[in-house]
Amino acid sequence: MAWLVVRLAISVSLLYTASAVFEDQVGKFDWRQQFIGKVRFALFDTHSQASKKLLVATDKNVFASLNSRTGDLFWRHVDKTGPEGHIDVLLMYGQDAVVVVGNGRLLRSWETTVGGLKWETVLDTGSFQAATLVGVQDYVKHVAVLKKSAISLHDLSSGSQIWVENLPDSDTVQYQTIYSGGNGLVFVLGVVPNSHIVIVEYKIEDGEIMNKKSVEAAWMSSLENSCTVISSGILLCADQITQSLYTLPLQSAEQKEMRQIHLQTLDLEVASGFQPVLTSTRPNPAQPPLSEFFLQLSPDHHILLQLKDGLIAPLRDFNPSYLAAFATSGERTVAAVMSPKNDTACSINLFSADTGRRHLDTTIIYHMDPNGGKPNRLYVHAFLKKDDSVGYRVMVQTEDHTLTFLQQPGRVVWMREEALADVVTMEMVDLPFTGTQAELEGEFGKKADGLLPMVLKRLSSQFILLQAWLAHLWKLFYDARKPRSSVKNEVTIDILSRDEFNLQKMMVMVTASGKLFGIDSKSGTILWKQYLENIQPNSVFKLIVQRTTAHFPHPPQCTLLIKDKDTGLGSLYVFNPIFGKKSQISVPALPRPVLQTLLLPVIDQDYAKVLLLIDDQYKVTAFPSTKNVLQQLQDTASSIFFYLVDSSQGKLSGFRLRKDLSTELIWEVVIPAEVQKIVAVKGKRANEHVHSQGRVMGDRSVLYKYLNPNLLAVITESTDTHQERSFVGIFLIDGVTGRIVHEAVQRKARGPVHFVHSENWVVYVYWNSKFRRNEFSVLELFEGAELYNSTVFSSLDRPHPPQVLQQSYIFPAPISTLEATLTEKGITSRHLLVGLPSGNILSLPKMFLDPRRPEVVSEQSREENLIPYAPEMPIREEWFINYNQTVSRVRGIYTAPSGLESTCLVVAYGLDIYQTRVFPSKQFDVLKDDYDYVLISSVLFGLFFATMISKRLAEVKLLNRAWR
């Protein structure tokens, strides 16, 4: 019976929290963009002439097929992260794509049209070196995989292993390359650095070693980077020190030394310090490669050479040229070369590979993005036109991971910004008002100077409004006459303005590659992008909004702090988040490594918030640092505090700012690093508002919340990872005084810990290693029935410790990330947004994570609307805010308040980006989407007319009665 009551209560409580998107709302205010990451391998499907497929494998362990006409994904397979899912090589033959995954762990074959897995084979252990398709008599039947100490041959149609052989002397020889010329033999090439090359010849049928020889090559350190096989099995190597090319026929038994060809004899020279690169082409994997090859002598110098009768002859010199690539269509092989045209554009031309002659009318102009990176890879898709000439399209990859697909004469067919697959941090910035809105807004800002000028000002601004309205009407009229298709509602920066409820914002995204993006949150259109060059791959970014759009005519201002992990030095990049332009403001030089930043609520005379940067000598730099700011800082210095957490030493330290912008250490908490390690620290979000200062109890008294804005949640994990002894600790520390307000330990628990710290609560998730399940735990802090001080909050004057309540729940799924919704005034109830590894984002009402949930239902708890305690946390499909639009590898969720109290903007990012709105308490402040305006207004008008008519009738009747 009790259970029945509990269940009833739960289902009733679920009834009004359940919310999901209706079918007709799909895509109305949400969008998703799918990315693949930085392309490492790209192959065009040349199997048939009409094929639109482009197969790519990326550094994000994604294997995908793109539509080469539109750039959209046909299909995408996302493998495990890290080295386990790393794609080592991608080979393609006909309809099959063969992939080696996880440093030679798995060999997979994919069907390229639908992306289905044909077969998968687990390979023997050993680090992967190379793989190649092995053909016999113009037909590819096998794939050979070279490991560090073994070679195996697999059947291409079934994946079954035909044979595996150990390589001779694999402890001294580094086997690196594998080659098969289609004549029943597989050559394995190894090198003993600075000594000799080893060539082992295997028979395809049974793996028998046919021949083994070693050739002197004292200059060689690595085969992979400097050698290639051309023509009918001739090994070609380039060496920078001796300035020579070396050739060696693989099959000849008598030649004991490589033949040296000095580059000087060809009138060539390798740029100093540049490792020459050889590029050969092999149109058909069952046949030997062509005898033509590219030699890159310097970053912008390529030369097309040909090996003929043992002699190397230059066919064409491309100087300057950035990139060169071969492509084959049918029987014809062409070479595309990208050369600089002027400062902003490059031209790509097509040359026939066998003669080096330029094809006429094949120029593609590639306009380099001034805010992008330099091109670094060129992929060419050649095809035969109807008149039997060769046409081509190119895909250019740039340093900022952008893919641009071009066709003649330079039209950009599509573009993919793959840098967005790795968003590091983001912010949402309000859009500016339109000119008219700003005009009205500006009127209140202007100083009043007499009655008449004020009236005139008001009149003039209203005249401008009228003008704008008329222009708008005219535009509507003009657009209405045009056919619907020609009216494009493209979003551009110029027409961008804040909407009525501030639901449309600018998403400023910082990616790991150092490219910044400005994205319209409504449509997902990229409005601006800016590539910051010379960003180290492991840099740390911190994005700070210093000035919002609220201070017209001052432009909004964002500051990006970039810290290089290796040198520790940081730099500031200041820009306008709406237009993406770099600001002209002078940026302070940061000669010392920056440890942390602090954004003060203090503003300078231009309404920019002051950013303090603390360096490794605990000195503080202010930005901006005008006289006004320094004066304000001096006045408020005694109330500005820093905390720094050094995870390696397990030390938390607090500092107070002095008037001379130095700091003094005021507290220190040491959490012994041998026992437990500090994993994460979080304060509260600066833009969070708490509307209600307490909670109403069942007896209508108030339990006041402990709302300490300086509270920090510190999560630690034990260094001992044994499942019986591991634990997760949480410390609530006051960041000003260093006082430990509360500490809790979860025994037999393990990370990774995800947590949210907001209002007066902390929610954290950990893995319970005893029961093998994920658990949620919630901590809530209350001051009690009375407020200690209701007007001001000072951490220095808190004599009473808060009451702490805690409860834990079982969560039936692993978790990728955790975030809480945020609204303008904090009236709306809170939801937790839980990113699941499946790609779904669960909107979990905070109501379920309430430590006051009673085990026994009482009158008072019912009065409070508390759900009876149940250990299991439900996951309901209708709570997935992204229905079937899953976000692959969700890494972070960003929430921002909108102008509507009911609405919170959510952006989930990972491999994909998903933007939506959530309404934790439903849309209580706006009419619903499906509000029946027609019905309501027709009823209204109907009633109005009925009233009019009946009034008239009543009058007539009264008159008649009076006459009677």
Binding site: Q596, I614, I640, F641, F642, L644, A680, R700, N710, F793
Partner: protein
């Protein structure tokens, strides 16, 4: 009073009878001309006596009436001077008025008990009515005083009336209180508490 009204009715009848004497011809003509319509007339004057064919029979019996002048009544006129019994009546009436609100209290208590403490439309309506009636009565206090003017115990009655109404409104307030409609708890003022101002500014984080 009713007696007086009867008297004047009788006078009117007489008068109409007297007025009938001259010009009966016209009336007669009118009556004969109309035929059926004559009967539907709203009023008619009979100017000649005895000529009328309608009620000659009963007229004949009251022949002597004609002799009385206009306004003459053969019945005695009642004595309208205030008597002791009437004064008592007024007093009683005034006490009725003064005690009215007090008399309603048991009824209200019963309604209160019946409607319960749940907040729904009917109890709310009851409470509103219960609260509104005494307030209305208190507002029209001067009118009630005027009513009680004739009583000798005017002030006492007024006081009783006032106390009764106050009791009624107190009852309504008690009902509101028991229904939880009065902002008497600290939770009712929770929304008005401003978030405290923070005195310290703090920031930082993990060493970057």
């Amino acid at each position: 009073m009713s007696r007086g009204r009867k008297v004047s009715n009788a006078v009117l009848k007489r008068r109409s009878d007297v007025m009938t004497s001259p010009g009966a011809q016209g009336g007669g003509a009118l009556a004969t001309r109309g035929g059926a319509t004559a009967k539907r007339m709203k009023w008619a004057l009979e100017l000649s006596l005895g000529n009328s064919s309608r009620n000659r029979g009963d007229r004949q019996s009251k022949d002597g009436d004609v002799m009385y002048p206009v306004g003459y009544s053969d019945k005695p006129v009642p004595d309208t001077s205030v008597q002791e019994a009437d004064r008592n009546l007024v007093e009683k009436r005034c006490w009725d008025v003064a005690l009215g609100p007090l008399k309603q209290i048991p009824m209200n208590l019963f309604i209160m008990y019946m409607s319960g403490n749940t907040i729904s439309i009917f109890p709310i309506m009851m409470v509103c009515m219960m609260a509104w009636r005494p307030i209305q009565a208190l507002m029209s206090m001067s009118a009630t005083f005027k009513l009680l003017e004739s009583s000798s115990q005017q002030w006492l009655q007024g006081l009783v009336y006032l106390v009764g109404n106050l009791l009624g409104s107190a009852l309504a307030i008690y009902k509101c209180q028991s229904m939880g409609l009065l902002p008497t708890h600290s939770s009712d003022w929770l929304a008005f508490i401003e978030p405290p101002q923070r005195l310290e500014i703090m920031g930082g984080g993990m060493v970057m």
